[in-house]
């Protein structure tokens, strides 16, 4: 549309859009502000100017040992994503570049496993974890998170790989590249951006997972999602500290999320909307 909107209309749209954006963002903004208040300020009524104290952050860290759930979150999110990539990259590669008549069926079936409600398998998974000693261990939860995100990882990689034109691989073959050369010099460099996007989105999904992390951990392996959920009990009713804990839990992923908007659409719609 090569038409220049009038400046007045643009001002109107801009004001409206910013109001909407700020209203939607407000709960997060207010939490950030509150985390910088003292406890007294936090319950002293509506106030957008904090005293910029970091005491709540220090308190959360010293009283609740914030670093343990934080470390657990990092290990679980990154670990489960890497594990999923190890399994998914070869599978997606094979399906994208050597498709058979079953490929479509296999992909749809993989997607269907994602449709299974988590709660449907709560009982057996819970019992298996109890009996095998996997309960409240990082390894058990890492494998769980890997399994629930595996279909999305395969799908995302598949849609990225499929965009690599087959003629380029054929050109490499004509140019004398062996299968190893083809993967090393042609395919991998071209696939890296797609793999990175997939990784980013799955770290976000794993970080925010809040069903299995709550069900399968108590203290040792509890990541931030489970740790924060425990604040719902009365001991957590300290507004500034709660805000500080919340900010620390969402800040890293919020920033990663801002960089992955496009991939988010693609990943979560299984390539149906690009």
């Amino acid at each position: 549309m090569a038409r220049v909107a009038s400046t007045r209309a643009k001002v109107g749209y801009t004001v409206a859009a910013w109001i909407v954006a700020l209203v939607i963002f407000f709960p997060i903004l207010y939490t950030i502000i509150t985390s910088l208040k003292t406890e007294q300020e936090a319950i002293a009524g509506f106030n957008l100017i904090p005293s910029f104290t970091l005491s709540s952050f220090e308190a959360v860290q010293s009283q609740n040992n914030y670093w343990r759930p934080f470390t657990n979150s990092v290990i679980l999110a990154v670990g489960s994503t890497l594990l999923a990539l190890v399994v998914a990259i070869p599978a997606a590669w094979a399906m994208a570049f050597s498709p058979t008549k079953n490929t479509r069926g296999i992909l749809m079936w993989m997607l269907s496993t994602k449709m299974m409600p988590a709660v449907a398998v709560l009982v057996p998974i819970y019992l298996i974890f109890l009996r095998t000693g996997l309960m409240d261990t990082r390894i058990g939860l890492t494998v769980m998170l890997m399994l629930i995100n595996l279909p999305i990882v395969v799908w995302m990689l598949y849609t990225y790989f499929r965009e690599i034109p087959g003629e380029i691989l054929e050109a490499a073959r004509m140019d004398g590249a062996s299968l190893r050369d083809e993967i090393l010099y042609v395919l991998t460099p071209m696939a890296v951006p797609g793999i990175a996007s997939t990784m980013l989105l799955n770290v976000i999904l794993a970080w925010n997972e809040a069903f299995w992390t709550i069900q399968l951990t108590t203290t040792n392996a509890a990541p931030l999602s489970a740790f924060i959920a425990s604040f719902s009990s009365p001991q957590g009713l300290f507004w500034a500290k709660l805000s500080a804990a919340s900010v620390m839990a969402i800040a890293p992923i919020l920033i990663m999320g801002w960089f992955s908007q496009k991939q988010l659409v693609r990943g979560l719609t299984f390539g149906a909307v690009k």
Partner: protein, 289 residues
Amino acid sequence: MATRQTQGLARLMRAPAIILLLIWMIVPLGMTLYYSFLNYNLLNPASVSWAGWFNYQYFYTDPAFFAAIRNTLVLVLGVLTITVVLGIAIALLIDKPIWGQGMVRILIISPFFVMPPVAALIWKNMIMHPSYGVFADIARAIGVQPVDWFAQYPLTSIIIIVAWQWLPFATLILLTALQSLDGEQMEAAEMDGAGPVSRFIHLTLPHLARAITVVVLIQTIFLLGIYAEILVTTNGGPGNASTNLTYLIYRAARLNFDIGGAAAGGIIAVILANIVAFFLMRAVGKNLD
């Protein structure tokens, strides 16, 4: 380009993912099905017996079950309506030429990256708390009695929280779809004398139809499994007022230790999800060709 030597290798490369997912799908689901026909309570693990259809009958006659089904549907439909309608409106707005579009997008997408327990806690304490929340501050400022949201409108409160979490997703996908709308098509319609409203109805909406379908179906899958938001805010109460199917099954399994009953509930949840999944697969599957 499929030559003989690559085929065998391809099969080998697909195998781990397929086998893992196959196990992940069959084993736990089979166990759930099996448990659903047992009298099995973790408080009394020694006496396990065959229950036949009892667990299903028990669920079916439990008033909490119907409340949970109703709440699940209200939750899903409520959130879908809010997110799709507002999502279209916001997408249309930020698709216009505005200053700072990148920043506006970032602000709007942000709630999606907030993990469910944090989202619930923020709303519970910062916004909806009857004494210290922002809503209460506003109520007092205009001189009305603050609302105790989670006691008076538990399900509505949860719908608001979940809608806030999913609105960015709907907006972003609808915006992406909107941006692929052919500008020349719009100009052609304008030349043909179509006003803004009829352009929206006859061109924009049909163009968005596919994206809306995808939003509705994917959100439904996730909304059927809403759990942490309820756990953190109302614990399913007061009574069963904000208990959905997922939460009911969680309560049966983890708080009542009723393995058989929870398993039967799980099977019902699977059936429910499959109905939705059937439609989702058809919508997404078309994109594969």
